[in-house]
């Protein structure tokens, strides 16, 4: 029997429901290049953490393309790359400007002041379940919640969701290494096309906001003039595309992975019902135990880097398997145990370094509220299918559907 490379097994859909045994295998070779010319796969916690802070590692799409990832070009046509695909100083400038519309110190309360609004959206969604006693948590809750939130935050009409979803889906698919590998020219073209379409759609909204400013991020992105000046229209659009996609695709998975994990750990679910404050630690432990972003495949090194005796040559692609690092026994005691009582949950779920998750404060708050309310209001919830059906994506991993049943809805 020929053993498929570990890398291929990770991207192979049949391992999607439980990739953790493979990650454990991977950790035996913490710096692995298992195909000539392929990426160097780094899986141990400290190595990943180190590389995320390493100025010899580039996130620039142009460097990635030079390293042989021809999919890197998806962002090259039409819209300029968003800050996630840029290095400093451009990255810093754009992220700083985006941040001044989003969080502290410029908008210290924009996220926290949404607490009541988030709770209301969650209540409405749960109330909306009506007499149903069996639901698909993804379609009926975990997806609509963050989409509604990011739409409100950016100022995108919620009713346009079916329109932008048609553009978002191919873009999200293009992040998956397996899809990238087998992508035809046609697929690449369609992903570029989708990004353009989404950009044009947002351009319409931005233009409207420039004329009639409102209290939303699109207005701020388009009209703020800070110490860095203003974003160009194209920069506003690629930032908005990034925020719209990243603002919900990951949170859907975090909430769904969260509910799945809680249903598999009824004792924790029970404790959460009695003590909502536990949601803070539960969400942190989830980000360690079942992170929505499993790996970061878009890095290259601009210098030779020596890691555990392996020299990764300048110009190589590097994959950082965050989800493996999160269960590295060198770093965490009993790493395969879901334990919100861990004193020390410094996970890699949001990455680290200059590209650490921009939306982390929002994702945390959304998931804390969502899980607390689900735990409180669903009477005797249980899984109907375990494991559930997963989405194909190996990078943004999460169930496609999560069917759960419950006895009643508490007020």
């Amino acid at each position: 029997m020929t053993q498929a490379s570990i890398l291929r097994q990770i991207t192979d859909y049949s391992n999607r429901a439980n990739p953790y045994p493979l990650y454990k295998e991977l950790l035996k070779t913490p710096v692995l290049q298992d195909e000539e010319g392929g990426p160097y796969v780094v899986s141990s916690y400290w190595d990943i953490k180190g590389l995320l802070h390493d100025p010899r590692i580039s996130s620039d799409a142009a460097n990635l393309a030079a390293a042989g990832d021809d999919q890197a070009g998806i962002e090259e046509t039409g819209l300029p790359p968003s800050f996630i695909r840029l290095d400093p100083p451009e990255h810093d400038r754009l992220r700083r400007m985006a941040n001044s519309a989003f969080g502290p110190p410029h908008q210290p309360r924009r996220i926290d002041s949404m607490r009541g609004e988030l709770a209301q959206i969650v209540s409405d969604l749960i109330d909306g379940l009506g007499d149903q006693r069996q639901i698909d948590l993804v379609d009926q809750f975990a997806y609509p919640f963050p989409v509604t939130v990011i739409c409100r935050l950016l100022g995108v009409p919620r009713e346009d969701e079916p329109r932008f979803r048609a553009w978002v889906d191919p873009l999200v698919a293009s992040l998956d290494p397996d899809t990238r590998e087998s992508a035809t020219a046609e697929f690449r073209k369609s992903a570029q096309e989708a990004r353009m379409q989404l950009g044009m759609y947002l351009a319409g909204l931005v233009e409207e906001r420039t004329k009639n400013p409102r209290d939303d991020m699109l207005t701020d992105l388009a009209t703020s003039r800070g110490p860095d000046g203003a974003m160009t229209m194209m920069e506003v659009l690629s930032t908005a595309v990034l925020l719209l996609i990243a603002g919900h695709e990951t949170t859907v998975n975090l909430i769904t992975n969260g509910m799945l994990t809680l249903l598999r750990h009824p004792d924790v679910l029970r404790r959460l019902r009695e003590d909502p404050a536990l949601s803070v630690n539960i969400v942190e432990e989830l980000l360690r135990y079942e992170p929505p972003v499993q790996l970061v495949p878009q890095r290259t090194c601009i210098a030779d880097i020596e890691l555990r005796g392996v020299t990764i040559p300048k110009g190589s692609r590097i994959w950082l398997v965050l989800a493996a690092g999160n269960r590295d026994p060198e770093r965490f005691q009993d790493p395969d145990r879901f334990d919100p009582d861990r004193g020390d949950i410094q996970h890699l779920g949001f990455g680290s370094g200059i590209h650490s998750c921009f939306g982390a404060p929002l994702a945390r708050l959304e998931t804390q509220i969502a899980l607390t309310e689900l735990a409180r209001r669903l009477g005797n919830p249980r899984l109907i299918e375990d494991p559930p059906e997963y989405r194909p994506n190996a990078v943004l991993r999460g169930p496609r559907h999560l069917t759960i049943a419950f006895d009643d809805l508490l007020p």
């Binding site: 953490k49 802070h53 100025p55 010899r56 100083p89 601009i302 370094g353």
Partner: protein, 463 residues
């Protein structure tokens, strides 16, 4: 025998911690965490339970935090006897007793000294006592200074442009208060980060409207007829009218109470081994007296085994945890305190952080970003290796440089880095002032044995 003793110590021993601040509190928590069940006494000269100091020169002065509410968050119950508002006045190592100002004596089996530092006062006492003259170290200092700043002073004068002095100047400008800063060195922060980085800091001061005077000393503080400060006289002959003066000349270590105790304590702190065990003045390690925090100075392998004293928040915690662990552990289980110095400051809207020991550096390379933009990482080199790094608004890269320091990576930095500019390709002199000329107090003191610390009198034994 030893195991029995340790067992009894953990079960019913008496541990006394002198110094009820960050290090003292964290040590107490660690002791309890690690199963110490005996009696625990915390002695502090201030009347307050442990509080956090970094906000005192930042959020508190800006009016964003109440100085009375910067208590340190508790990690756990420590079930301790608190002796607050009573300084320790003497130590009897033979009888294992600490004497307090109120005449009380407290016996210990193990002692932890975490008495920290205090602000160095203006040396001329009558001038220091003028109304309107402040130092900034304690909560009371912060309350007083903040009250004056709120009252709308005509001008604040800050003596010394180290980190604290610069933060005070920044807080003044933030509130539109006219401020003059005098610094003996050629630039602010020059003692801590060198003249090249100091020039960036000087720009920050001036651009924010600080009246910055460098290369000058304050010669006198002048009061009015009712004892309020009214003007400051400088060595260049100029006189600046000011109604608030903040003396920001660094810190003095709180070791006077140990005079004559036989412990290796002096103006530079209390010498200890890497396991936080204090040395006596003959250089012999004690086994029942431990030190932690700003008052400790311990040898560090990464920095040529120099004795380092660090006025660093993170160091106080790490050292306290190590000291507490070692106090109740058998020798085979003890851990060394090998903290990589790390320090941060926030001033004029810029986040400054350093790792390693910049004042040890001779040369500097700006490996990322640019000085002109005030967003950069600078790396300090010493004898062919990286010894420190500093970032302005670029904190997230520092972890990398910390590892470079820990592994003795070579200097100059030859490899490419993201955001490397042409200015960062060649090292320049870091331009530290002559160390024999005191500027403001440094936050890292490199203190190899100084004969001035303590006179060692060798008296041969007679048979």
């Amino acid at each position: 025998m030893a195991a029995d003793y340790l067992d009894r110590l953990r079960r019913e021993g008496r541990i006394v911690i002198v110094g009820a601040s960050l290090a003292g509190l964290r040590a107490a928590e660690t002791l309890r965490d690690e199963g110490f069940a005996g009696s625990l006494t915390l002695i502090g000269d201030e009347p307050y339970e442990p509080y956090d100091r970094p906000p005192l020169s930042k959020a508190v002065l800006l009016g964003k935090a109440d100085p009375r509410h910067t208590e340190l968050p508790r990690r756990r119950e420590i079930d301790a006897k608190w002796r607050l508002g009573v300084p320790a006045t003497a130590l009897d190592m033979t009888a294992k007793r600490v004497r307090l100002a109120d005449g009380d004596e407290v016996e210990y089996d193990r002692l932890l000294i975490a008495t920290g530092v205090r602000a160095r006062p203006w040396p001329k006492e009558p001038e220091a006592q003028l109304d309107g003259v402040f130092v900034l170290r304690t909560r009371d200092d912060a309350v007083g200074l903040h009250r004056r700043m709120k009252a709308g002073p005509r001008r604040v004068f800050v003596i010394g442009a180290g980190f604290t002095g610069s933060e005070i100047a920044s807080a003044c400008r933030d509130q539109g208060i006219p401020v003059t800063v005098a610094e003996r060195a050629g630039a602010p922060l020059a003692g801590a980060l060198g003249g090249v980085i100091g020039a960036v800091a000087a720009d920050m001061h001036r651009e924010n409207g600080v009246d910055l005077r460098t290369g000058v000393m304050v010669t006198a503080l002048e009061g009015d007829t009712v004892g309020r400060v009214r003007a400051v006289h400088l060595s260049d002959g100029s006189v600046v009218e000011a109604d608030v003066v903040v003396v920001s000349l660094g810190a003095t270590r709180n070791t006077e109470w140990l005079t004559g105790s036989g412990l290796g304590a002096g103006p530079r702190g209390i010498a200890c081994d890497a396991g936080c065990r204090a040395f006596d003045f003959r250089g012999i390690v004690t086994d029942d007296i431990f030190v932690a925090g700003d008052v400790a100075r311990s040898p560090h392998a990464l920095f040529g085994y120099q004795f380092l004293s660090l006025e660093h928040w993170g160091n106080a915690i790490a050292q306290a945890e190590t000291a507490a662990h070692n106090m109740i552990s058998p020798s085979s289980d003890r851990r060394p305190h090998l903290w990589v110095p790390a320090f941060w400051s926030s001033q004029f809207g810029v986040n400054i952080k350093s790792v390693g020991v910049p004042p040890m550096g001779e040369e500097l390379m700006i490996t990322q970003g640019s000085l002109a933009e005030r967003r950069f990482v600078g790396v300090y080199g010493y004898q062919g290796r990286i010894i420190a790094a500093v970032s302005f608004d670029n904190t997230r890269w520092l972890e990398f440089y910390e590892r470079m320091i820990e592994t003795g990576a070579p200097f100059p930095v030859e490899f490419p880095t993201v955001d490397r500019r042409p200015e960062g390709r060649t090292p320049v002199s870091a331009d530290f002032p002559d160390p024999s000329l005191p500027t403001h107090g440094p936050t890292v003191t490199l203190s190899g044995y100084s004969p001035a610390d303590r006179q060692l009198v060798f008296t041969p034994a007679r048979h």
